[in-house]
């Protein structure tokens, strides 16, 4: 019996694994403050991925005939090392790129960043968390001086009086989280903002409010709510004066977003806007309420103005005096399992462990000291994920991919495929032959969750232990071993531990004094206590479950409000593309589907992509339920079955993004990015829809 956590999302539901003959392990949910003994179907069936029939158990190297063939570890690593040496000799260190993942343990994420900076010495590293958390991270840092998804434990949600949830379909993406909304639903305080009446929006049916705005108008909506707070004198002026900079400029930024204008821009009736403000203000502690929260998800964040939209959410929270108050504040619901930890320890283009900036000389000196290298030897800041992918085949000749399936998960997938194919060397570490792995020159088989030790940092910033229940199959190895061996093969004398507890100890030292300080933690401590340990956890502390009670993380302790002004989506409606596409997840699949599409029980429930559209739109195009529908943008077309439902806006279609092939949503999405965060605009682009058979006739 091994206590660990689910391999999927950031809620990191607690589970107990028992070795079993058929599936490797059997899974049972475990009582824990986040999941309270609940698991969704993904968690229950997670063991199936361990024994996936096509699990990769030996290294694979592409032969002269272009076929991936089994190789020994020695052969595979020697081949990779030789190719890297020769490419770097010809094109310099920055010709190698590294693409990491938000599903990797803290130890792996840390080691990958270290390997990149000390062995490859390339500046070109980024990770798929860029597609996930970057806008909220940028806005959080800007406002609070720190980026921890939820600055309070999930259990605080139970106690609050109102939750404004923007662009997050938790009922599908992290179902056990819904338990924490029970109280606020009962109190009529749940407000969900989503262009679809999603399963989460439907939670407001009995009491609560669903605001269903036009995609791409969240920021306008938030400015409208802020305007009403100011207009009705509901701001917490005492708090603002004591704890915040920039309130006056922010008031002014909302002056042009009066309710009528906001209603006609977003499509949300004025009465709903007023009601939302009423509910939030009544729940604000400064007005005697039990607390109010504003939470954002990818729906609000994956836009070219995503950072500013989160900033608008934070501004609203600050105006109501929420952050740092009981059962109140702003939080971002992290997506990937280790989306939080993955962004703290060096996978981000501009960061070193401990959430340190790579261009800060003091940070370089500290981390270089821990690594035993000279600060000057560390590369500078690289570029965010989309830009990195754009350099493939150009400045970047080789790419290492860890814990990501970029071919399915990155925007404008057709262009991504072309760029991956133009590489001189693609090395993919994975445990299944993902779509990206199938394009690789070298595939290195790695361990997965039940086969490894490590830590994950959940959406509430709590550090959790992942524990090994069974041995990995065949020759699969941990990335920690692979990185050590590659370092040796590349002639590096930098030391790489392979024991996760030791790697964690080093990570803790490297993070000491940083924003995300883990220096007071160790595997032994995490194993010895039931006490929740949230970072910052400097040596001698017992962690920090709640941030901001007395100060924010900027030097002067005050939060920064930044005025924002909304723009249009990069790919906006026009006569040839008169409806918006939004994308998202379904309950029974996860991210690019590399794991969940290998689980029969999940495929039974969610077997294929689909296009959700409103009956008005369907009728106009003579589309019946189940017809193949072509969704076409300036970049590409995806074809999938129609699901006709009145729960979506008539000017919007929805596609889940878990599948490759004809129905791949990301063949249609736009790779325009947020100038601050580098987040691509997954969540809105202009498309046309047509019945696929009619399209072929006219084409």
């Amino acid at each position: 019996m091994t206590d660990t956590h689910c391999p999927y999302c950031a809620l990191q539901c607690a589970m107990t694994l028992t070795p079993s003959v058929e599936e490797g392990v059997s899974v049972a949910p475990r009582q824990f403050p986040t999941n309270r003994g609940g698991l969704c179907q993904k968690g229950w069936t997670s063991a199936a991925v361990l024994r996936a029939p096509d699990r990769i158990t030996t290294p694979l190297v592409r032969s002269a005939q272009g076929v991936l063939e089994e190789a020994t570890w020695e052969e595979a690593l020697a081949y990779v090392a030789a190719r890297v040496r020769s490419l770097q000799a010809e094109h310099g260190p920055d010709s190698i790129g590294v693409f990491g993942g938000g599903g990797l343990t803290n130890e792996k994420a840390y080691q990958l960043g270290k390997f990149t900076r000390t062995v490859l010495r390339t500046k070109h590293i980024d990770y798929n968390g860029r597609f996930c958390m970057s806008s909220a991270a940028a806005a959080g840092n800007r406002a609070f001086g720190i980026d921890r998804g939820m600055p309070f434990p999930v259990s605080d949600v139970d106690a609050t009086g109102a939750v404004l949830l923007l662009g997050s379909n938790v009922a599908d993406t992290m179902p056990p989280f819904v338990q924490h909304l029970a109280g606020v639903r009962e109190r009529g305080g749940l407000i969900v903002v989503d262009p679809r009446r999603s399963a989460t929006a439907a939670l407001t049916d009995e009491a609560g409010l669903h605001l269903q705005p036009l995609p791409g108008t969240d920021q306008v909506l938030l400015l409208g709510l802020l305007h009403l707070v100011v207009a009705q004198g509901l701001a917490d002026e005492e708090y603002l004066a004591a704890r915040v900079h920039g309130w006056d400029e922010v008031i002014r930024s909302a002056a042009l977003w009066w309710p009528g204008r906001v209603a006609t821009t977003t499509g949300v009736p004025e009465a709903s806007l007023r009601r939302a403000v009423e509910v939030l203000a009544a729940a604000a502690p400064s007005r005697g309420g039990r607390g109010a929260m504003i939470l954002t998800g990818r729906g609000a964040e994956q836009h070219t103005g995503g950072t500013d939209t989160v900033t608008a959410a934070i501004n609203l929270a600050l105006a109501l005096g929420l952050p740092g108050r009981a059962a109140s504040g702003y939080g971002c619901l992290t997506g990937q399992g280790n989306g939080q930890g993955g962004r703290e320890h060096g996978q981000k283009a501009d960061q070193l462990p401990g959430y340190r900036l790579i261009e800060d000389p003091a940070a370089r000196a500290h981390v270089a000291g821990v690594w035993g290298v000279s600060p000057e030897s560390l590369p500078g800041k690289g570029v965010p994920a989309v830009e990195l992918l754009g350099k493939l085949g150009g400045e970047v000749k080789a790419l290492f991919v860890h814990g990501a399936n970029v071919l399915v998960s990155a925007p404008d997938a057709t262009a991504v495929r072309r760029r991956l194919e133009s590489l001189d060397l693609l090395v993919v570490c994975d445990f299944v032959p993902s779509e990206t792995a199938r394009l690789a020159d070298v595939v290195l088989p790695v361990t997965q969750w039940a086969e490894e030790e490590g830590t994950m940092t959940s959406l509430e910033g709590r550090i959790l232990r992942r524990r090994r229940a069974i041995d990995p199959p065949g020759q699969a190895r941990s990335e920690l071993a692979i990185l050590r061996d590659l370092a040796a093969a590349l002639g590096s004398d930098v030391h790489f531990d392979t024991e996760p507890a030791l790697v964690f100890d080093e990570l803790a030292r490297a993070s000491a004094g940083g924003v995300a300080d883990y220096s007071g933690l160790s595997h032994a401590l995490l194993d010895a206590t039931e006490r929740p340990l949230h970072w910052p956890a400097p040596a001698g502390s017992s962690g920090t479950p709640r941030l901001f009670a007395t100060r924010f993380a900027h030097a002067d302790g005050k939060a920064r409000m930044v005025p924002v002004s909304p723009g249009a989506p990069a790919d906006d409606l026009r006569a040839e593309a008169p409806v918006y596409l939004v994308t998202g997840r379904v309950l029974a699949q996860y991210q690019s589907g590399a794991q969940t599409r290998r689980v029969e029980a999940l495929n039974d429930v969610a077997p294929a992509p689909y296009v959700e559209l409103h009956p008005h739109l369907a009728r106009r195009h003579a589309i019946e339920d189940g017809d193949d529908v072509a969704v076409t943008s300036a970049r590409g077309t995806a074809v999938a079955r129609a699901r006709i439902t009145g729960t979506i806006r008539p000017d919007t279609v929805f596609m889940p993004f878990h599948w490759p092939g004809d129905g791949m949503a990301n063949a249609v999405t736009n790779d325009a990015t947020d100038p601050v965060s580098g987040m691509p605009e997954f969540k809105v682009c202009a498309v046309s829809v047509a019945r696929a058979d009619l399209l072929e006739v006219t084409a």
């Binding site: 969704c40 009922a171 002056a255 009066w258 008005h616 806006r649």
Partner: protein, 496 residues
């Protein structure tokens, strides 16, 4: 040496122009002076009626201040002359401000018709154009016993509703045969009048004020052109606006209804431009904000040496006009039925008793005109459909269905639920699987959960599973297992 740009007028258009010029001028090519007649920081004039109605705090109107390091903002100073030869603007404080480029954004002022009795300028006769006007009207409203609003246009009606909200009895008087004649046909206007009367705002149309009657320099009544006399100790004149052109005229620039400019917003003097309510471009004067903002953007782009953006299809579409007043929801845009072309399709739903009216005008399948009154739950969606030209449903009337036509399905009773219905979303468990689990001996929720995993995710389906188990337990236990499954999965029609 930077180019000196002087902007006269710190209203919403002058403010927008300065903002865009500063944003685009990264090399700091321009030295900008903004001259504003009012003492106040720039504010959102659109919301004055909201302030009057007590629905918005003044603070919510204040616009961002121009960046102090980039803009010399002269507040509370009027421009009194232009010396075109010297290239200088003469200010009311006696100073002169040199310019290489002059932008006139002097706006418009309220028009007050020459009524008898106004020559003596009695007290309690107001207009509503500036913050000071708003304060004066609000102050008078405290003691006023009966207000008359002269002019049943957009602003007049907003002000009337605002005064009514402040507890003042109000009569709106308009010479046209119906309210908002510039925007509305008679049908919706009559429904609107009914709506206003229901709110306690009296409406008199086809009549006007002939004389303001005052005693001791205070307004006491108005005499109408038909001879009727109404007691009135507050009159708000809302009869449209006139462009402020005196400055331009004084400088010898061509002035018609406004300051005449070409398509590039330039006057006959190539160094002088006019934008907003004071400008009269070849496309005409609208008195609306959005076109003024578009002119500000266009001129800023020109000065910055950028290609001004091609006017988009959306910009050329007449802007939606919204009446802002609590209790009245009116939005109108584009073509109205009386102006529709022969081939246009016009749909009208009128429900005067409920204060509701909708006109839709479609041209070649596209929505080109919308008037919607008394439907606050669909008016934003209709405005968006018009403004963004999103696909119109084959039956345009379905645009009026709340929630975009998505009927909320009732959750069926356990008995009537089809077997394929997913009961537990988190674990993808259907009714059929729960029935099977029951057949296999799972006789309570925990046993069903252990067997099927239903209820073990978010727990939201627990009640439904409970209901299913209760129903199954209540059914005949002697029933044969093999037939029970099929029968129970067949929807059962209940007789009433």
């Amino acid at each position: 040496m930077s180019e000196r740009v002087v902007v006269v007028g710190a209203g919403m258009v002058g403010h927008r122009f300065v903002d865009e010029l500063v944003r685009g001028d990264r090399e700091e090519r321009f030295a900008i002076t903004l001259v504003g007649e009012e003492e106040y920081e720039p504010y959102n004039r659109i919301l004055l009626s909201e302030v009057l109605a007590g629905r918005a705090d003044l603070r919510a109107l204040t616009l961002p201040l121009p960046a102090a390091e980039r803009v010399d903002f002269r507040r509370g100073v009027s421009a009194v002359g232009i010396d075109r030869d010297a290239g200088e603007v003469l200010l009311g404080d006696g100073s002169r401000t040199p310019y290489e480029r002059l932008v006139l954004a002097t706006g418009a002022r309220a028009f007050v018709p020459p009524l008898d009795g106004l020559e003596s300028e009695p007290r309690h006769v107001h207009v509503l154009r500036t913050l000071d006007d708003c304060r004066n009207v609000a102050a008078r409203a405290i003691n006023a016993k009966h207000a008359v609003v002269l002019g049943g246009g957009l602003l007049g009606l907003e002000a009337a509703c605002g005064l009514r909200r402040r507890g003042v009895p109000v009569t709106v008087i308009d010479l046209d045969s119906h309210l908002m004649a510039t925007q509305l046909d008679g049908g919706p206007a009559r429904v609107l009048a009914g709506r206003l009367r229901a709110l306690g705002v009296d409406v008199l149309t086809g009549v006007s004020v002939a004389e303001a009657i005052s005693a001791y320099d205070e307004l006491v009544a108005v005499r109408l052109i038909d001879g009727r006399v109404l007691a009135a100790d507050l009159m708000l004149v809302s009869c449209g606006v006139r462009a402020n052109t005196a400055l331009a005229a004084g400088a010898g620039l061509t002035v018609d209804r406004g300051i005449v400019v070409d398509d590039a917003l330039t006057t006959a003097d190539s160094r002088i431009h006019a934008i907003g309510d004071c400008a009269q471009p070849p496309s005409g004067m609208t008195g609306l904000l959005a076109p003024g903002w578009a002119q500000a953007s266009q001129l800023a782009a020109t000065l910055l040496g950028r290609e001004p953006l091609e006017p988009t299809e959306a910009a050329e579409r007449p802007e939606p006009i919204t009446l802002k007043a609590a209790g009245v929801d009116l939005v109108t845009m584009g073509v109205r039925p009386s102006r529709a072309a022969a081939d246009d399709r016009v749909l009208t739903v009128s429900d005067p008793d409920a204060g509701r009216h909708v006109d839709l005008v479609l041209r070649e399948g596209a929505l080109v005109g919308v008037t919607v009154l008394g439907f606050p739950e669909v008016s934003p969606a209709l405005t968006l459909a018009y403004d963004r030209q999103t696909p119109v449903p084959l039956d345009p009337l379905s645009l009026l269905v709340t929630g975009g036509g998505g009927a909320v399905e009732e959750s069926p009773s356990p008995m009537r639920m089809p077997g394929t219905t997913t009961v537990c979303r988190c674990n993808g468990v259907t009714k059929k699987q729960i029935v099977s689990a029951w057949e296999d001996g799972a006789r309570n929720v925990d046993a069903v959960a252990a067997n099927t995993r239903a209820t073990t995710g978010c727990g939201g389906c627990r009640e439904v599973v409970c209901g299913l188990v209760d129903w199954l337990n209540a059914s005949d236990p002697a029933e044969s297992v093999s037939t029970a499954v099929t029968e129970r999965n067949t929807p059962v029609e209940t007789t009433t």
